[in-house]
């Protein structure tokens, strides 16, 4: 009985080994094919600067439209004389959606594209903010490329999205100082922008960074979940 069992086991082993060999050879072919495909794709992936496709532009434009729609109250908020009130109100939207945009389109210039698309409309809603956002996007892109060498890592998107909005704070200060120098009211404009209390300015700056980090974090979580679900391709 035991001999029969052993024979059967041997047969099964043989059969399974034959199958394994076949599958191994097939797998080998698949692996070989994969290597060929990988070579092509890896060549593209290795490049830091990649060409934009129409689908990338369309997605970034739509994300910019969402940013604009959710930030439509900007001209009203911009008139409230509290330091960093615009950044605090728009922090979540202007970090969450750029994070999603950069996570899907992992190419340098994605943030700049989004800033440009939203900036054209923002130019009428808040002219100052439009130029500031473009400049900040440029700086964020440069810093991200220097530190992370592209957007392959999720942290690169997180970093750029978090830094994007808070960077406008120092630039708005410079803008007010320069712009109102024509009418000689730069002192008043800057003090109106910063406010009388320095503590409030520091507190608001910290709050803006925290809000933007939260927005960027949510953006990354959303994108990761959509990638797992297969909505966004890996």
């Amino acid at each position: 009985m035991s001999e029969n069992n052993n024979k059967i086991d041997e047969l099964i082993d043989k059969l399974s080994s034959i199958e394994n060999e076949e599958t191994d050879t097939k797998a080998g072919k698949i692996v070989e094919n994969c290597e060929v495909i990988d070579k092509e794709s890896s060549q593209n992936k290795e490049k830091i600067f990649q060409k934009y496709k129409i689908k990338d532009v369309v997605f970034l434009a739509i994300i910019s439209a969402i940013m604009l729609l959710t930030g439509a109250f900007m001209p009203l908020v911009s008139n409230i004389p509290i330091f960093g009130i615009i950044e605090l109100c728009l922090g979540v939207q202007f970090s969450l959606f750029p994070a999603i945009g950069m996570m899907k389109v992992r190419k340098p210039g994605a943030l700049l594209f989004m800033s440009f698309f939203s900036g054209i409309v923002l130019i009428f809603m808040n002219t100052i903010m439009c130029f500031c956002l473009l400049l900040c996007a440029l700086i964020c892109e440069a810093l991200t490329l220097l530190i992370f060498r592209g957007y392959k890592s999720d942290w690169a998107s997180f970093f750029a999205a978090t830094l994007y909005m808070p960077l406008t704070l120092p630039f708005l200060y410079l803008w007010y100082k320069f712009f109102y120098s024509f009418t000689g009211e730069e002192g008043e404009a800057v003090s109106a922008f910063i406010g009388s209390d320095v503590g409030t300015a520091i507190g608001m700056s910290v709050a803006v960074i925290a809000v933007c980090a939260l927005g960027a974090f949510i953006g990354i979580i959303v994108t990761r979940e959509l990638k797992k679900a297969g909505v966004i391709k890996k």
């Binding site: 129409i54 739509i62 969402i66 729609l69 994108t223 909505v231």
Partner: protein
């Protein structure tokens, strides 16, 4: 030359409309702390009736009346100064009057104009989408909110509901729309590779555009000098 002399009501040259709008906004913001700014904005608003559709101008007035009075009251209650309240209304009015020339230009005309000056195709397509996508987005948001209601989640301010029932379906839908739209754009002959393309109807700068710009510059000079 014939194109230069033709006059079409409410047909400002798109790029010039944007530029004049920008000039009005910047000048208005810089001089918002002066009463001269109010005169400037009133003059530009009245001038706009000659060159821009009166319906657009009236829409702007309604917007200004609502938000201007709100901010006037808000500033007056916080500072008890009529001057500061007027200056606040000046800021709101600068945005409103500055938007009028831009509002009179359709997205397709601006796109055509930008293509005419050989702006990169990707940017032109992106701008067209940004300008024309707002109604689609608001509709999508409405649909998702309706879907939320059917599931019994009414409170959008609840973070869990906002994330699971609103944000995830919304982004999923956006990705779907983006894929469909990019395919649709490509099949209609818009791509980033081809450099030569035909514009069937070009935008021309007319004498009335120049007059509009000159009139605004004249008002700026008058307000600054006087």
């Amino acid at each position: 030359m014939r194109n230069f002399l033709t006059y079409k009501y409410n047909n400002l040259y798109p790029l010039l409309a944007i530029l004049t709008g920008l000039t009005i906004v910047i000048f208005g913001l810089v001089y918002a702390q002066h009463y001269e700014c109010t005169y400037f904005l009133v003059a530009v608003y009245l001038l706009s009736f000659l060159f821009i559709n009166y319906k657009t101008c009236l829409k702007g007035l309604i917007f200004l009346a609502i938000f201007g009075s709100f901010f006037f009251l808000f500033t007056y209650l916080s500072s008890s100064s009529i001057d500061q309240s007027v200056f606040m209304v000046n800021r709101i009015a600068s945005f409103t009057v500055g938007m009028l020339p831009g509002m009179s230009v359709g997205a397709e005309r601006l796109t055509r104009n930008l293509s005419q000056i050989r702006m990169p195709r990707g940017m032109v397509i992106g701008l067209l989408i940004v300008f024309s996508f707002m109604p689609t987005l608001t509709e999508e948001i409405k649909r998702i909110k309706e879907a939320m209601k059917t599931r019994g989640s009414y409170n959008i301010l609840n973070p869990k509901v906002l994330y699971r029932a609103f944000l995830i379906p919304f982004i999923t839908r956006i990705v779907d729309i983006s894929d469909t739209l990019s395919l649709s754009i490509e099949t209609r002959g818009f791509d980033l590779k081809s450099k030569n393309y035909t514009i069937y109807r070009k935008e021309y700068l007319t004498i009335y555009d120049v007059l509009f710009l000159l009139a605004i510059i004249a008002i700026i000079v008058l307000v600054t000098v006087l």
